[in-house]
Amino acid sequence: MRVALIRVALVAVLLGIWELIGRTANPLLYVPPSAAVPALGRLLRLESYPDLGEHLLLTVREIVVAYAMAIAAGLGCGFALGLNRLVGRAYGPILAALYAVPAVVWYPSLMLFFGLDAASKIAFGFLLGFFPITLAVLAGIRQVNTQLVTVARAFGASGLTVFRKVMLPSMLFTLVGGLRTGLALTVIGVIVGEVLGSKAGMGSLINHAYGLFRTADYVALVLVTLVLIVGSDAIATLVEHRAQRWTE
């Protein structure tokens, strides 16, 4: 209750400051909440951007495809590198080196390669989501207590049983954490990709409004995108709780 109160107070103060600055500054650059709320209303009534639904759906679809690919490749790569010492030692350093490169430098080449449509956004979202998932698998495998593997083997566990009954539960927290980070970064990748250059999607609308100095609409679009991001994180949290229940 007190936490909620403090949180509401902070939001109220921030909104107040925003309102104050917005009223005193150039209205082209700063939009106070009192102007953003009507703009959000117009956006949701499909007055400012009648095709909002299609753009939103496209962005969600890009995120879903990119995330599914990041999970598949991240888990595959992580387990291949983590379970096989030779492969891990051969490719691990390459992975680490690639991860150290700021991902955004890849984006221009992704656009050249995949074009301005959804494919380049999916590729960028995938790229951002792939690394934390792979690294979480690797970290998770390192966390597995080898004594517990020995115990399971002594009780007759096969390789697959060791994987299911010892490795997966040992790594679950790390793994789910990595999947969650991967989702957040995939969402960021897709939206950043759209903002940097696209013909459709939430990012392209944001770019459009911003470019035309429709600042109130721009803020409203950002708020809708924010809901998308918070929503995806809420789903991830739900999955995390499920996973916790499953291990118990």
């Binding site: 004594q147 517990l148 020995t150 115990v151 399971a152 083997r153 002594a154 009780f155 007759g156 566990a157 049983t161 009954k165 010892v166 539960p169 040992s170 291990t247 118990e248």
Partner: protein, 258 residues
Amino acid sequence: MSELIVVDAVDKRYVTSSGPVDALRGVSLAVGAGEFCTLIGPSGCGKSTLLGMLGGLVHPDGGRVLVDGRPVDAPDPRRVATVFQDAGLFPWRTTLENVEFGLELQGVPRDRRRATAVELLGPLGLRDFAGKYPRELSGGMRQRVAIGRALAIDTPIVLMDEPFGALDEQTRLLMGEWLLDIWRRTRKTVVFVTHSLHEALALSTRVIVMTARPGRIKSVIDLPMPYPRAMESSDLVALRAKLWSEIREESLRAMGEA
């Protein structure tokens, strides 16, 4: 007394970064059904390696290991159960679920394995801790869960690798008494690794003293005295002195090499 476990001229060499190390050389022994056989010796003498071989987790480089007349090449949870050093419990499983682990792997139906585990909790002194996780238990309790997990699969042979090594002395003495009681009731064959002279003399029907690396069998001491043993009786005091002089010699050698 039929020989349930036979170890015949077994060698084991480990390759380490500083060259090969002879862990065991030419070790032979036989353990009869119902025995409580203790392996004792200086650190690094290959006791745990030998135990690992009996459990099918370590393969000998030479010689052979037979359990019930059959060569051991992999863990066989129908004949051998192992209690590990530091318990080795699964932290995401409750006491009951840890005890059930072996039965679960053997495909015993849920109701039946639960019933077996619940029944064991009484003698384990863990009845009130069935739903607790390992981190909520004391060291002695954790070790009893590990013993329960081994007893649950009801094998004729139980291997114990310093099960009480990490416990304080009082708990250790009590756990020894408790184990003796369990062993006398179940009449299982136990092979027990320890560093404790007291444990060896209080529990065993036979003590096998191993040499410093490379591990060989230095001597075998039979202990036919009835249980519970009066540790201050003259014959046990004499045996203790004998045992200590042998282990002391080997430990000094092990220390000198290290």
